[in-house]
């Protein structure tokens, strides 16, 4: 009954993979926001993780302190006791701590040095222009969000909240916890500005893996049957693996990468019934060729409207045409209220 057992195991594994994929899709759905550009193309945005935002904020805070220190050093050249120098000091502190975020976000279209370093960016939540008033509005609340909880302003007895440090603590926790409590991860100022912070890293384009095969003599060729087994998911896993191998072989970690590649190539050989042994040095070339051939087949399928999601699924003809929602939109989103997860698994 081992056949029944193994098939039961396969079913279980498939269910687990399904769950994992659904979880990932859910995660994407949670952080993916879509703005339809005037050209009708849905532009995908990913919300910035809270950790990155905190780190960016700490960087900015550090920079503010550094600027303050620079002012102090500069002014220490003069006699600090004079009224004018004292005033200059106080006023520069005032400017730095109140207008740092505002002026950087105005000058760099929603980025501060900390945000820029992390590839973060403020955008209008509904897409379109990030207006000056939105930037001003989102920075109006820094006083109650940063300095009030820090107790910087506790000096004023006219300030009713200054009585108890616990109040400040609670206030700080509430304010800094707000991004965790709403789906767009917005802080108080983002609500007023109608903005959100997204990941907008610098685009990077690596080599096309399929073009690497032209640099050598021998090409591995596969039969259509051998290429009909895997789907898009496996192709992309293979792409990730090969790119990682490229990355690590530059870092002189080639041994582990070679091993990983060898394991994968053995698995592929077993699956597609490739009998010819592959010499140790050729594993990389074999996998690259397999990747290119497989991609050629799957992309050809896409052109003809057949999408094979993974090895277990049959090539899917596109669903019956729905009423066209918008030109250029690749697919009707599953939930029209939010961005659909990537069609890729």
């Amino acid at each position: 009954m081992s056949a029944a057992k193994s098939s039961a195991r396969a079913v279980k594994a498939a269910a687990a993979a399904d769950r994992r994929r659904r979880r990932e899709a859910d995660q994407l759905l949670k952080t993916r926001r879509i703005v339809v550009s005037p050209e009708g193309l849905p532009i995908k945005m990913t919300l910035a993780p809270n950790g990155l935002r905190l780190s960016a904020f700490l960087l900015d805070a550090g920079l503010m302190l550094a600027m303050a220190l620079a002012v102090v050093l500069l002014l220490s050249q003069f006699d600090l006791q004079t009224l004018t120098v004292m005033t200059a000091f106080q006023f520069s502190m005032f400017l730095i701590f109140n207008f740092y975020f505002l002026s950087f976000e105005l000058a760099w279209q929603g980025r501060t040095p900390g945000k820029k370093l992390h590839g973060l960016r403020v955008v209008a939540r509904q897409g379109g222009e990030l207006t000056v008033s939105a930037i001003v509005a989102r920075n109006l609340t820094r006083m109650v969000e940063i300095y009030l909880p820090l107790g910087f302003l506790a000096r004023s007895s006219a300030d009713p909240a200054s009585a108890n440090p616990l109040v400040f603590l609670l206030w700080g926790v509430l304010v800094s916890g707000l991004p965790r409590l709403n789906k767009d991860r917005r802080r108080l100022g983002d609500f007023l500005g109608g903005t959100m912070v997204i990941l907008a890293p610098k685009p990077r384009l690596s080599d096309d893996l399929s073009t690497q095969q032209t640099r050598r003599d021998r090409t591995y060729v596969f039969t259509p049957q051998q290429l009909a087994i895997y789907g898009n998911l496996e192709l992309q896993i293979l792409e990730d693996l090969l790119r990682k191998a490229d990355f690590w072989s530059n870092k002189r970690q080639s041994k582990t990468t070679e091993e990983a590649l060898a394991v994968v190539s053995r698995k592929i050989c077993a699956k597609i019934g490739w009998t010819e042994p592959i010499p140790v040095g050729e594993v990389r070339n074999f996998l690259t060729d397999f990747y290119s051939a497989e991609r050629a087949v799957l992309e050809r399928g896409l052109l003809f409207g057949r999408r094979k999601a993974d090895q277990r699924s049959e090539p899917q003809a596109p669903a019956a045409p729905k009423p066209p929602s918008r030109a250029g939109e690749p697919s009707a989103p599953r939930r029209p209220t939010r961005g659909a997860p990537r069609r890729r698994p």
Partner: protein, 374 residues
């Protein structure tokens, strides 16, 4: 071409002639990329330039080129999403198009243009939009002032309760009318540096902080804002009571009004913005809370920028001009003129664009509908 793949059934033998580049498998998607790569790189370069140096960095030809390259990239992305399985390529295009979208449909107005539209339209407009809140804030302030006046006049010991010592600065019921007049109302001008630089600076920073708090604390349903307004009102009332009792009532009113008509206007505007913030938070009306807040925030941004301007003016009036103009009628005249100027400016400027967006555009209802996420 992909078709050729299926013709090569025969596995190459070791003795075969090496395959040349011409024979190698060339993917349609690799060709697609090769043809467009250059324009993507060019687009990236323009975006980088724009990001680094602002809109003026691009010359006319480049400014014409940018949208074209953007549209080409967008159409590449539309094709790539559906037909290309090179994940790195698709992700690169996704992020390139996002950057380009933000650059092309990003800020289109310079700071100077914004400043002029702020002064001509959006500031007075946002003041008019907050009529009810301003009324409420003014009511809170002046009722508190009246209460302070009545309390202190009926019981002098209330004065020390209502006026914090750092504001009183030794001025209390123990000082004589002559002292109050000499050291307070008609104290000699302390010189340019001390008054216009040091004192003005202190006043501005202090008042700016209070006004920002007045606004920001609106988040607690506006209650702390109301308390701040009441506290300030009570203090002013108590001061007035003190000077009335010493027979300096009119002198005090003049002394206060020269900067007060500007400063109290600023406090009331900031308080009104805070109250409105709280009100929008608790009662967002027919819309979603976040849409109501976003709309409100854009308007109050202009208002608070205006408050900053008012405070800047007030700090100069208070620090130097007040003591320079050491005569009651002159002070009164200056104060009333300033107040009248501000409020008529709020009432009359930019009326023709009421009902538009705070930055002068048409209402952005279509933008809201366009967004898939709504």
């Amino acid at each position: 071409m992909t078709g050729r793949l299926f013709d090569r059934r025969r596995r190459p033998e070791p003795g075969d002639a090496p395959r040349g580049e011409a024979e190698a498998l060339t993917l349609r998607s690799a060709q697609f990329r090769r043809g467009r790569e250059e324009s993507w790189a060019r687009l990236q370069k323009l975006i980088d330039k724009l990001d680094a140096k602002g809109a003026k960095a691009l010359d006319a030809a480049e400014a014409m080129e940018l949208p074209k390259l953007y549209q080409a990239a967008v159409s590449s992305l539309a094709v790539a999403r559906n037909t290309i399985l090179d994940r790195n390529l698709v992700e690169h295009l996704e992020s390139l198009c996002l950057q380009a979208y933000l650059a092309v449909y990003g800020p289109r107005r310079g700071l100077g243009e914004c400043l002029s539209s702020f002064l001509r339209r959006s500031w007075p407009q946002s003041v008019r939009a907050l009529k009810r809140e301003i009324l409420a804030a003014a009511l809170l302030f002046f009722v508190a002032a009246a209460a302070g006046l009545i309390m202190v006049r009926s019981d002098q010991s209330a004065y020390n309760l209502l006026v914090p010592p750092e504001i009183a600065q030794g001025r209390n019921y123990l000082s004589s009318a002559e002292e109050l007049s000499r050291e307070g109302l008609f104290a000699p001008w302390s010189g340019f540096e001390s008054s216009f630089i040091h004192f003005a600076n202190f006043l501005f920073r202090n008042n700016f902080t209070v006004c920002l708090l007045c606004f920001g604390l609106g988040v607690a349903a506006g209650v702390p804002t109301a308390l701040l307004l009441l506290a300030n009102g009570l203090t002013v009332g108590a001061f007035l009571a003190l000077h009335l009792d010493k027979g300096l009532g009119l002198d005090f009113v003049a002394w206060l009004s020269i900067h007060g008509t500007t400063e109290i206007t600023a406090v009331i505007l900031a308080g009104a913005a805070g109250l409105g913030f709280g009100a929008k938070l608790v009662f967002p009306g027919g819309r979603s809370r976040s849409a109501a807040l976003a709309d409100y925030g854009r308007r109050s941004a202009g208002l608070m920028a205006g408050v900053t301007l008012l405070l800047l003016t007030a700090s100069f009036l208070e620090s130097g001009l007040r003591q320079l103009a050491a005569s009651t009628p002159l002070r009164l005249a200056l104060g009333l003129a300033a107040g009248a100027a501000w409020w008529s400016y709020f009432a009359l400027t930019g009326r023709e664009t009421d009902g538009r967006e705070p930055d002068g555009r048409e209402p952005s209802g279509t933008e809201i509908e366009r967004r898939v996420g709504r």
